[in-house]
Each structure stands twice: as C-alpha cells, then as structure tokens.
C-alpha cells in the first residue's frame, strides 16, 4: 500500500480497511501487513520496462487480441502490404505451438519473432521482453504483438504496449462484447473483421456489436474491415497513422501512453507502476 497518500484505496474498498472495517482486524500474536498492491505487480513492472524500451526508440506497440481465427494474422498481412513502404514494421507472434503465423509474416518481408507459450493461454510482459532482445527497435516504427487467440486471459496482462486492438469477426456473433466484457473493456479500438461475410451471415448486426461495447462504458471507436476484400482497411490505416503521430508527440512531451485498461489501473495500482517501489530487472538496454 502506498503509505503516503493511500492512492490504492478506492471509494469502493475504503470502508473495508478503515478502523473497525472488516479487514482492519488483526489477530492477537500475529503481524498483519497491509499491502494493497497490484497482484500482477511483477508483470506490471516488467511491462513498464518494456514500454520504456519502445518509448526510447519512439516505437508504437500495438497488442492485437481476439478469439483464435478472428483474422489477426490476415489483418497484419494486409496491413504490412499497405504500410511497408512508409513504416518499418515488426511482429511478435504468440501461439501455443508452431511458427506458422511468423512464417506468414516473414513472407511479407518483415521480421517476426515467434513466442510459443506451450500451455500458457496468453502472453505476458516477460515473454515480450525476451522477444524484444531479438528486435532492433532503433530500426522500427511500429511493433505489432499478436497475442494468443483467447478472449479471456490476454486482457489481464500488460505487455508494455501502448494500444489494445480487439478484433471481433463476423462469424463469431455480435454479442461477444456482452459475453467477454473484460476483454472488450480493454479495447482502445474494436475492429469488426471479415465484414465481407456480412452478406451471408446476416444475423450479425454491427450496430448491435457496438451497442454491447457501449454497455461496457467503452468509448473505443468501432471499425469494419475485410482483409480479404480491402473494404474498410483505409479507416484502420488512418487510425494507425494517427496513433503513431500522437504517440510521438506524447513522447516529445515526456508523457507515457498506456492501453485502455491500465488507465483505470493507474488509479488502483499506482504503487505497482512506480519505478522506485520495485525490485526486479535492473539491467539497461542501450
């Protein structure tokens, strides 16, 4: 717990830790230590370190999350084709097994680092850090992190990236934000993918998908794209342009950009994000 300002105590939990509160009681003969730390502080600490890597080289890092098969790799292939004359791009690929996706990306002429997680259902900041040791960030503009296909766990781990993009493909159904609120609440942008299938899967209503997203109090923009037909791709590319420009302007001002879910977390986990409060990796990267 932050001893000086109590910043981890929120209006929702403070009654529990005040004198006479349910959790303020200490058993006789024992020592109780109030900690109120972000449980994932080890991960958050590593994530902050990763973010410093990216920021030092003015690289924008984007975390792509979705179900398996929602079209993350196809979106990346189309994005690289459209942008590779303008931006230097690399991809970190997360999958349980195989190098299949990394091979597809490399076929487009960009560096792809494959992380095979074995049985782990998400990437974490330490895995991404290992991957960063194999990337020369001084020669890059954008790093895409293609997370493990999973609509649950990836949302809980900060990787040190700047923006979360959550894909929802038309075959999955328009109520996924209602069913997987933790994931969709983490989105800075929701991309409805495979929209060329809207003509045949006419029970998918884009406006309903957006309404379910708004029900999560999310202000994230919603875009429709088809990597296959190219329809809607320009909106996505424009968003990337805008994000990269905004990111660089913020770095010039010394500001740190975090993905959506961490903006809430800053309030709760201020201690975990403070560089002076932590042990852990201390090595430097030049």
């Amino acid at each position: 717990m932050c001893d000086t300002c109590g910043c981890n105590v929120t209006p929702g939990n403070k009654h529990l830790v005040e004198a006479n509160g349910k959790l303020a009681w200490v058993g006789k003969g024992k020592t109780a230590v109030d900690v109120l730390q972000g449980l994932l502080s080890e991960n958050d600490h590593q994530a902050m370190h990763n973010r410093q890597h990216f920021d030092k080289h003015q690289v924008l890092a984007i975390n792509l999350m979705s179900s398996p098969g929602a079209g993350k790799t196809a979106l990346l292939e189309a994005t690289i084709e459209a942008l590779q004359d303008r931006y230097r791009i690399a991809v970190i690929e997360g999958d349980l097994e195989t190098e299949n996706d990394a091979k597809r990306i490399r076929a487009k002429g960009v560096t792809a680092i494959q992380i095979t997680t074995g049985t782990a259902c998400h990437l974490d900041a330490h895995m991404v850090h290992d991957a960063l040791h194999n990337l020369d960030l001084s020669k890059l503009d954008i790093v895409f992190i293609e997370n493990v296909g999973n609509l649950v766990c990836p949302a809980s781990f900060d990787l040190g990236h700047h923006r979360n993009v959550t894909l929802l493909s038309v075959p999955e159904g328009d109520d996924k934000p209602a069913k997987y609120p933790v994931m969709f609440r983490a989105a800075d942008l929701m991309l409805l993918t495979k929209t060329d299938l809207l003509a045949v899967l006419d029970d998918f209503k884009p406006e309903k998908a957006e309404q379910y997203l708004r029900n999560l109090a999310s202000e994230a923009p919603v875009m429709q794209v088809s990597s296959r037909s190219g329809e809607g791709m320009q909106d996505w590319l424009d968003w990337l342009d805008q994000e990269l420009a905004t990111h660089r302007a913020r770095i010039q001002n010394g500001e740190i950009v975090r993905p959506a879910i961490q903006s809430d977390g800053i309030r709760l986990h201020a201690t975990a994000n403070s560089p002076t409060q932590h042990h852990g990796p201390t090595h430097r990267h030049e």
Binding site: N8, T10, P11, G12, N13, L16, V17, K22, L23, V26, G27, G29, K30, T31, A32, V33, D34, V35, L36, Q37, G38, L39, L40, S41, E42, N43, A120, C121, H122, D124, V152, C153, A155, S156, F157, P177, A178, K179, P181, V182, R185, Y212, R214, N215, L216, A217, E219, I261, D264, G265, L268, H279
Partner: protein, 114 residues
C-alpha cells in the same frame, strides 16, 4: 486459464513481504478480486495449494474478498451498482460511466507469525 501464474506472482510478493518482516510462517493472505479483473476466485483458490507448496506460505489460508461493481455516471453523477456486461448508470441509463470498483486484483493484507 492463468490463475496459477497469478498465484505464483502473488506468492512472490508474499515471500518478499515475509522476508522484510522476518516472518517464520504465513498464516493468512487477503485478496480483493473484482468480477472485471479477469481472474476467477474459485480457480484462484484451487491453484493456490499448488503454488504455495514448499514455500513459507505452505500452511497459509487464502481469503478472497469479492468486490462489487460500482460505477459513477459522468452525466448525472449518480453512483450505482452494475453488472459486468452492463456498466450503465443505474439512475439515468447513460453508458458514459467510470468504474469505481470491480476490477480489483489486489493483495490487501498478509498475516504472518514473526
């Protein structure tokens, strides 16, 4: 699911705290978990005995406080309860709300023998 890795991270923190206080054993670990944290309390409880084995917390009890979801409306400023997939204002129905509670994943307190 990821609850085992969350448990291991928890025990890392608890071990650090125990060392700082020269504890001989950990008695109880108190957590706050909200429905929007992405962690299932029941899965955390079942992963805990695996994660605590051979540690100073080998005999510890994990006490999980499940937190409610509370939102504050940016339009009418009401503070109301909400559901995980429906974070709307309970007063005026607006979706432009801010989360007050519900995404906690916090190690709140450790009881130890010193």
């Amino acid at each position: 699911m990821h609850e085992l890795s969350v448990c291991q991270s928890l025990l890392d923190q608890v071990n650090t705290i125990a060392a700082e206080h020269h504890a001989t054993s950990i008695e109880k670990i108190f957590l706050q978990v909200g429905p929007l944290s992405g962690v299932e309390p029941e899965l955390l409880q079942s992963a805990f005995p695996i994660a605590r084995a051979d540690s100073i917390a080998a005999g510890a009890e994990l006490v999980i406080q499940q937190m409610p979801i509370q939102v504050r409306c940016k339009t009418c400023h009401a503070e109301t309860a909400a559901k995980a997939n429906r974070l709307l204002c309970g007063e005026c129905g607006d979706w432009q709300t801010e989360l007050l509670s519900g995404d906690e994943l916090l190690l709140e307190r450790v009881e130890m023998l010193t």
